[in-house]
Structures are given as C-alpha cells and as structure tokens.
Assembly symmetry: D2
Homo-oligomer: 346 residues x 4
C-alpha cells in the first residue's frame, strides 16, 4: 500500500563465515530489504547469489556506497578492514553495523564514533550475544536485584578452533565474553591483566587468561583458547543472594539459577572477632528462555534504530568499551602480563 514506509535498504559487505548469517536474518525482517552484497572474492559472491538471488551482487564496495536504495551497510569482513570500510560508509551517509570487534584499536574506534556522531549516523557493533534469550534473561535477573550484589564472574570459551590469521585468540573469542560481562556488570573495569601463549613460538596467542578488576571490588576472569580438546562455553556469576551458571552449549537449560549463597554470621559471643562463614542452598531454577535466534532480534533492533535514530544496545560507544579492554589486553600481553590500569588506555 502506498502509505507503508519504504523498507530499510541494507547492503552487506563480506560473504565469508558470518555474512550469510547476517543476510539470512536481514531478509527475515518485515521492514527491511537486502539490496546488495559485495565481496571481493568472486566465488564468495557467486555463493551469495545462489542463496540470495534477489540481492544485487556488486564487484565493488563503491557500488554499495553510491546506491541510494541502501540506507545501512552491514560489515562482515576481517577486523583489519573494519575501520576503512566503516569510515567510508559513514562518510557516504550510511548507517553502519560492524561485526565485532568494532576496529583494530581504540583510536580507530573513537574516530568511527566521532564520524557517526557528527553525521548523526547509527553506528552499531555486532555483539550478537547481547541479543540472545539467555543473556537477556540473566540481565533481567541481575537488574531485578534477585541475585544480590555480584561477587565475581568467570567465563570459559575454549575449543579446538580454527586459528585466525589476522588476530590472536583474545581478539577472536574474548569480544563475546567481554561484551556479555560489560552488559551484565553495567560498569567498566579499572584494570586488566593477561597471560597468554602461542601454540608454537612466533605465532599469535592461541590461549589467554584475562583478569579484570572493577572499582567496586568485583573481579571477572576469562579463559579463551583455540587449543582445548573439548568445546566449553560456560560463565559463572556469583552473587550475594543467588548464583548463575550460563552454559551456552546446553540444549535444554542454558541458564541455571541456584538459590545458594554464602552466609556470614558475626560471632559476638567470642572476644576474638571471628567471622563464621557458612552457606545456604535451596532450589535450582532453569528459567524459560526466548528461543528466538539472537541475530534475528539484533537485525530487528538495528532496523528499528535506523528508523527511530535511537542508538541500539551495542552502539559504537559500547563497542569502544570492548575495544579499550582488548587494547589493554594487548598491552598486558606485550609487557609480560603486567596489570594495566584502564587509565593508561585513555
């Protein structure tokens, strides 16, 4: 009907590992049209055409930029290209969704945010997990206060993985966990310390342990690895009232909330001021979770942002917070595991 607004036109650059998922979820959105796809590899582009025959296949990124039917550009290319592609898209007046991490370093990320804010463009970062039923449910539980104050967060994301050529395991895997942790904890760390190890000397880190401290005493720890025999995706969040296990590989019960807590009795009877520490244990509840694909919700919220001009949950500023931690990680790795204060990163 003539009153209906024109659907948001999306152009996709990069049809490798992640691009097909973005394409599939954009075409699902009622209010959106996947106008064109560009990949510099003709084979990849051919494959895109097979699955998305209604999208134009463009040999050049410029063709996306100059296409007036394209309102927003989704970037699913290697990290090293994010800055150039995103800045060109922003400068061409497009809204932008960039695959995580936002850029290769903090300076690039800040520059992109600045461009976007100057232009009034939407800049979103594809931290997909923030849109999953599990992560949203945990956020809801924490916000409701039922978990109490958070004591620590421990995350393990390991598997026998395809080594990335352009980035180490921290840049490859940790953005997922860092984005989840920032979202759940609602604050940025004050320091970051990392121990890492390449598989063989001279290679990029294939294993890393990241330790973060927060102003209020919370600690968060992340184990990421490409060289584990088994795949584990598990986060523990211990609160003063309840404790949560988030196991992303559990097909039935990804989130488990344990009604368990530490109980501290001040021992008044004793002249020696001794704390008596005990614990309490009750039911475990695995709450019902939304089964909707995270990327479907993300695509919907991105399209909504394009329409409403309101920033999405994982906007450029959120992506920058992740970038700053990644940069602190790199610095700590370079300096033999020194504890880096976030003030050093700026």
């Amino acid at each position: 009907m003539s009153d209906e607004p024109k659907p948001v036109g999306v152009g996709l650059v990069g049809y490798g590992y992640w691009g097909p998922n973005l394409a599939r979820n954009f075409i699902r959105q009622a209010d959106c049209q996947l106008v064109a796809i560009h990949d510099s590899d003709p084979d990849a582009l051919g494959k895109a055409g097979q699955f998305f025959p209604l999208a134009r296949l463009e040999d050049s990124f410029d063709d996306l930029l100059s296409n007036r039917g394209i309102d927003a550009i989704a970037i699913a290319t290697p990290v090293s290209t994010h800055f150039e592609l995103a800045s060109r898209a922003l400068q061409a007046g497009k809204d932008v969704l960039v695959e995580k991490p936002l850029a290769h370093n903090v300076a690039e990320a800040k520059s992109l945010i600045e461009m976007a804010e100057k232009n009034g463009s939407i800049l979103a970062v594809d931290h997909t997990f923030l849109y999953s039923g599990a992560v949203r449910k945990i956020r809801e539980l924490i916000e409701s206060g039922s978990i109490g104050e958070i004591i620590y967060l421990d995350s393990v994301r390991i598997n026998l993985g395809l080594f990335q050529h352009d980035v180490n395991v921290v840049y490859d895997l940790a953005p997922h966990d860092l984005s989840i942790a920032l979202y759940q904890l609602g604050q940025e760390p004050v320091s970051v310390q990392v121990s890492g190890k390449p598989y063989s000397s001279g290679g990029k880190e294939a294993l890393a342990y990241i330790h973060m401290e927060f102003a209020n005493g919370v600690v968060a720890h992340f184990h990421v690895s490409w060289i584990s025999p088994v795949k584990i995706r598990r986060m523990v969040i211990t609160g003063t009232e309840k404790m949560i296990i988030y196991d992303d590989l559990d097909p039935m019960e990804k989130v488990r909330v344990y009604d368990k807590s530490v109980v501290i009795h001040e021992d008044d009877t004793d002249s020696v001021n001794q704390m008596l520490v005990d614990y309490r244990t009750g039911d475990m509840i695995a709450p019902k979770l939304s089964l909707r694909e995270a990327l479907d919700l993300e695509a919907e919220e991105f399209i909504k942002s394009v329409r409403s001009r309101e920033a999405p949950v994982s906007d450029g500023r959120f992506g920058l917070k992740v970038m700053k931690i990644l940069e602190a990680c790199c610095l700590s790795l370079k300096q033999d595991g020194r504890k880096i204060t976030m003030e050093e990163i700026g």
Copy 2:
C-alpha cells in the same frame, strides 16, 4: 607365625574431617596396625573409639610419641599445627605422614625435611591424588610419549565450600592441583602469579587464579574457589600429539584422551612466510582405570616405605615443591598480583 614381621604400628593424630579416612585405610593394610589415636577434642576421640575400638585413645600427643609400638605417626590436624607435631614426631624417632600441605611455610617445610634426613626418618606428605587410578594413568600416558610435548595444563577446582578458618582457598584447594601438575609435568615452575579475592572485605581469599610458567614455555593455570554454585573438578592437558581431559567427578570416564592435535604446515609456496595452522581429530579413548581407593594405595606405599626405608612418591621434598609454590602464591597475593619468580622464594 613367629617368622612374620611385626606389623608397622601407626599412631594417628587428628580425628576430624580427614583422620577417619586415614584410620580406615591403615587398618585395611595387612602389614599395619592402628595402635593409637589422639585428638585434643574428647568428642572426636569418643567417635574414633566407636569406629576403631581396637586402637588406644590417647588424651595426649606425648602418649603417641612415647609408645614404642608406634613406628609411624599420621598427622591429620589443621595446617598451623603441622610443623610442631611433625617435628616432635620426627625428634621422637617416628616416621611421619603429614596431611597436605606439609607446613605453613617453606622455612618450616625445609626444617622438617632436614630433621627427617638427619634421623633417617621417612617423611611423607598426604598428596592423595598422586595415588589415584586417574592420575597414575595420565602419568603413564605422558611418560610413554603418546601425548607429545605438553603445551598447557588448565585446572578448575571449584564448589560452594566450607570456608576454612586458618587458611585461604589457595592453601585449602590448590595443593591438590599443584601436586598433580608437578607430578604430571615433572618440573617446577619458574614464576607464579596469583589474583585472588575474599568473599567479603577483610576475609581470607575465597577465590583465586594461579598462573605458572615453566622454563620450557609450558603454562599451567588453576582456578580454585569456595564460592561457585556448582562443583567442578576438571583438568585439561593439551599436548602436541593428544589432549587429555581429567574430570574427577565423572563416575564412568574420569580420563578422556582425545586423538586431536594442532597441525602446522609451513607454507613454502608463499614468499611471505606464513604458517598455516590446521587441526586433526580422531578417536577419543577413555582408558580403563584402577578403581582402587587412592588412600588405600597411599597407605600401602607408606607402609612399604617404612619397611624399605625408601622415600615414597610424595616425600618431604615433593611436599616442599608444593609449599614453595604456595608461598609464592601468598607473596603474589600480597603484592597485588605481581609475577613472582621462584628464585625469590629460594
């Protein structure tokens, strides 16, 4: 028969959490007699009498020392008392088995070893896991060379635990994993770095991450916690040929050996010297393990040492290695997570 040697007489001090297990396993040994038990708490002693009616119940530790029927003394008391009790026992000419950790600090541990060596006494430390079917099988696999060179070892030992009053979580839980790691890796670390956190301010650490580096580049990481909602006891050992998961809570398959490895192709065709990293995956084997209780084998080997005068696997020197790491952990915790070189410990 008159030719049979007199059984080894054992005296037990401490009938709290662990003492009953020692008692139960010593009386199982054909070649051993549990002569007497001492605990300063009369209730504990009464309980001991109920289950071990043939043992003398002694009000005083001195009664164990002066009892000429007692050849060896097993010490299952709080860590802070280990040094005093063990040194008195050694000075009384007894052989000694001390619950882990050997002592409160390195100086004490060294002093005990010195006494034992001067007297020609057996000094054993109760690192029980070294006697388990799983740990022995893993050792066998590593020694056989089938795992290849070890790349890293990651250990998680967490649960919602009874807080100890006299020690932090590092002293309580880590001795298990440190002893297993030292046994499997066959070498001592060059540096130790620890991040820890008490549950509430002013308390002892209830959570800690220990990171160790070895001269040959191997890294080992340990997560110990009293404040996790779930109990996990899992170790990953990644080698260049195979990878091992040791899950001590798995009732069926505690040890899994994955025929998986990283494969590095040197890419000669390319002028840029790029490594192509791939991986290989084959069968998984869960080897048959001895189901014998670890403490039963440990008691047997201790009695054998008493007879043969040969040091057991976890002798004082082994216990000292664990102590040195524990002391490095304490120092790192006090110095805000600084990386401590083992040379600093001496």
Copy 3:
C-alpha cells in the same frame, strides 16, 4: 539416666553385600543397639567383628532368637532364605525387617504377614528408596496436586551387573522401581506383561521389560538389565500439569520438575470435531532435597515402629504388593509374555 528407656536391641543376620549398610545405620540411631550379628560364613562374620566390635558374633541364627536383649531382627540374606528366617524370627516374638523382596512368592509373603499380625509383630520390608530425599520429594509434589493427573511412568534401571545366582534380574532390580512406582502412584496395577531374555540360553533372565496397566488408564513401564554397558537409573513421570525426571545418579539434581504440559484445544469452529494438541513449556525447577542417607531414615523409622507398634511405610502389606507384581512377572515370563491380570495372582 535411669528414666531413659532401654535402647531397642537389634540382631542382624547376613553380613554380605547389604548387611554392613544395615549395621552401620542401626548403630547410628540414638535409640538402638546392634546386639549381635550372625552369618553362616565365618569369614563374613570375622569381617563384621572388625567393623562392629561391640556386637556379639553368633555362629548360629538360634542364638539371635534366644537372645532376650534382641527386640528386632534385620534379615539381609539371599531371597530364598527370607521366608524361613523371617518366620522363625516372628515365631520367636521378634519384630522383623527383611531385605527386599519380602519373600520368594506371594504365598510365603502372605504367610509372614499373617504370622506378624497374629503376634502383633512389626514386619517391615527394606524398600530403601521409599526413604530417600528424592522419592519423598516426588511423593510430596504428586500429593500436592501440582503435577496434575499422572499419565505414565517410565523407569530404566540398567547396568553391567553382577548376575545373581538365585534370582533373575526382575527379582534383583525391579523391586526398587516397583516399590517407588506403587508409592508414587498410590494404587496397584490391574495387569502386568513382561518380556525377558537370559544372557545365554538356559540362564536366568538378565534383561526384562515390564509393562503395567492401572484401572485409571495410567501405564508404567520398567526396563531392568544386567547387560547394559552404562549405568542408568532414571524415571520419567508425565503428569497433565508438570513432568518429572528422577535421575538417581545425578549428583546435583536428582529430581527435575518441568513446567511443561500438553494442551488440548477443542476446536469448536470446525464442524469436524478435531482436537488441536499443542504443548506449553515453562521453567524447570530442581527442588532442594534432603541429603540424609535413606537407610538412616529407614532405620530410624523402623526403630520408631518397634517403639510405637505402628506399621512403617514399607510394611509387610506393602511388601506383598511388590511380591504380587513379581509373581505376575514370573507368570508372564513363563507364558511367553502373556498379559497377566492381577486377579489371577489373587
């Protein structure tokens, strides 16, 4: 104190696999004394003496019967001896606890009940699971109505097991599940049908499937096996409001209550009266369970029955219900899997 009643004196016959557990739990009871133990095998009796040195070791069962300090006799011997030992104990005026199953056949069981009732003796059957935290919690949930009406109960109890010499797998394993099912469903079946198979021809059944139907349409199915590579102990109970999984081997969450159900919409709009069947799914709750050892509670309740003269939960009449089903199972097995009505058993 002089006012305190004399503890209940218990005599134990049979110190093989199960006897030690009974002995250990009786001596735990404040109000009970393990007076004497009899086993016809001198080695077993010697072992009993080692662990229970305060109990008299009797060479003859008659010595238990004639001992006036013994109020109750616990029978933990092979099934084929239950009737003779229990009837002699009852005739000697003792209260009796018999290991499951109560007897070898219904006639024996009825006869024992008759003797006990004539004498006013307590006759209890050791259906231990009825005293476990998990089974009691499930009973509580069903009684509260929150599960709705039960639709079916499915039970799997399989492992690679020690073959019993005197009974088949139905008599060995099914009494556990039958007792749990009768307790949960609160009614007896109207028919029983069994398919079984020996491991090798001529042997006793090592595998069996038992199918029971109830007057109200409920069905219960039991898979018992000695020849499964893995150990499974799992019961599913589907209700019209909620569904339960009881996994006795889960160390953390033996009982899981799923807020799931089938929803039937009568389709009124359609002239064809078609049922639209859908389902509803909500949270899963693993309720906190009592961690008390089942046999400890059972021993306590048995001692209470001896004092109060009130029948325990698993009294002779309950044991008879189990026996009747076992006898129907045997008949069905003999008659090539014919469906046996319980009326045939009488």
Copy 4:
C-alpha cells in the same frame, strides 16, 4: 563441456517441514538440478521460491509429471498421500524418493514396489538415519565382528513433541529406529508386540513400547513418546564382545564402544552344573565419525542410483520391511498388546 552428462533433474512435492531439507541437499549435488517444486499450499510454495529461486514453482503435481526435464520425484508430503503421489510418479516413468514411511500400509507398499519393478524405476525411501556417520560406523563395527553376536538392542526416542494429526507416535517416530535396527541387525523380526497409550482418551497413541523378537533369539525394544519432558535419542546395542551406546544428541561422541562383556565360566569343580557369570571391562572408545550431513549423502546416493539403476540401501524392499513392522504394531495395538507373528502380516 559438451561431454558432460546432463544433471539429473529432480522435482520436489511438499514444502512443509522436511521438503526444504531435501531441496537444500539436492541443490548441493554436483550432478543434480532441482527443476521444480510443487506444494498445494500457495504460502509454502512462495517460501520455496524465496529460498530456491532457480526452481520452477508449480501449482499442480501434474506439471511435475509432465516435465520431461524431471527424472526423479522426491515426495515430502503427509503419509496418507504417499501412495497416490508415488504411484502417479512411477506410472509417469519417474524415479521416486518417498519420505518415510513408504506408505500407509503393506498393501500400498507392495503395490508401489511392484510398479517400480515393472517399470524398472528406482524406488527409494527416505530413511535418513541409514546415511548418517554414526549409523554407518556402527554397521561397520558390527560387520567387522568386533562386537560379537548381538544380544539385544534397546532404543529410546522421546520428547515433548508436536502431535501429528494423521498418524500415531509409532508411525511418526518409530520408522527411524526400526530402519536403524533392521540395518544393524541384518534380519527381520519373527514377532512384534506393542503397548501404547493416547494422551487423552480417543486420541492417537502418544506413547508406545514396541518389543520385537528375532529367529536367533535377539530382542529389540523401542520406546517412542511425544509426552516426555526431555528429549532422548539413545540406542544401546549389547554384543557378546563389546557394547555400544549411540546417543544421537551428544554433540561430541555420538557413538561409544565399550570394551565390556559378560564372561561365563563353566564351573567344572562343582557337581551341580552351575554357571559362574562375571563381567569384563576395558577401555571405552568413541570413534571418529563422518560429520557429513546424512541427507547430503542420501541425496548423492539417490542420484547415483538414478544414474546407475542400482537400488539404494533404503530401497522399496527395505521400506516394505519397515512397513510390515508398522502394520504389525498397529495390529498389536488394536488387539490389546497381543504378540503378532510376522507371518500374520505376510
């Protein structure tokens, strides 16, 4: 190139739950072209067009039959329509792949086989599991003799499922397990006995237990259910040398081979000829499996059959064997669980 043979042209009828999977896998095949799709529901057809834009969308099944570019027709429609669609396709000279089960009853299945054989057409039944890495590996192990003689096979396929309107749970779920069992055991049963239960009176069976006996004494048992709170897909195969667990939901180790077996010692010393039954336990191996999607291999083998005119593994005759068991199941259900001999089915 001009020498290359024309790809096999496939027409698909039915674009509901399963059709998209068939379409996706046919277009993957190098040697195959998905020429046209028909579905009587215009919405379904529209959806097909979105994902398979190169295929013709046909309003009428006749258009598939008359299309000379179509060599073979894949049928993914409700069971009740299989016979009509398949017989029309065969009569039009097409090769046919029918979704399982082949037809609604044995007479229909036999008639289809007859038509196919008269025409020399390929008739395949889509028993997808026969093409999975797990099922093929198990077959290989059994054929190699390393499992020994099979004693029993037990299968559980349960979940909270969408109730089918036109068939009961036996027709919906059991064809998977029956096809796997027939493939592994390499023989047909001599009798079938079924107990089933609708969720509510008057409905189709939502729960069923199928028990089959084979001439050589093997038994196979199947538990299928739409009303279980949890999803289980597990098969146990016990052999005289080894035992297998096939857990189709295990993401890592779908097939586990246990080096366990029952050991029978003939007891010569005893005049009573008593068998001593013991067991032996060794390593467990989870063999590496092909990760290829089953339907991809199935599509490849179907295309090969079309080219070579050789029957595929799951041809019409294989599908008929499954049908005969399904029909025996129905008869047993109608006759209150009577054991049906396969001779009655004919």
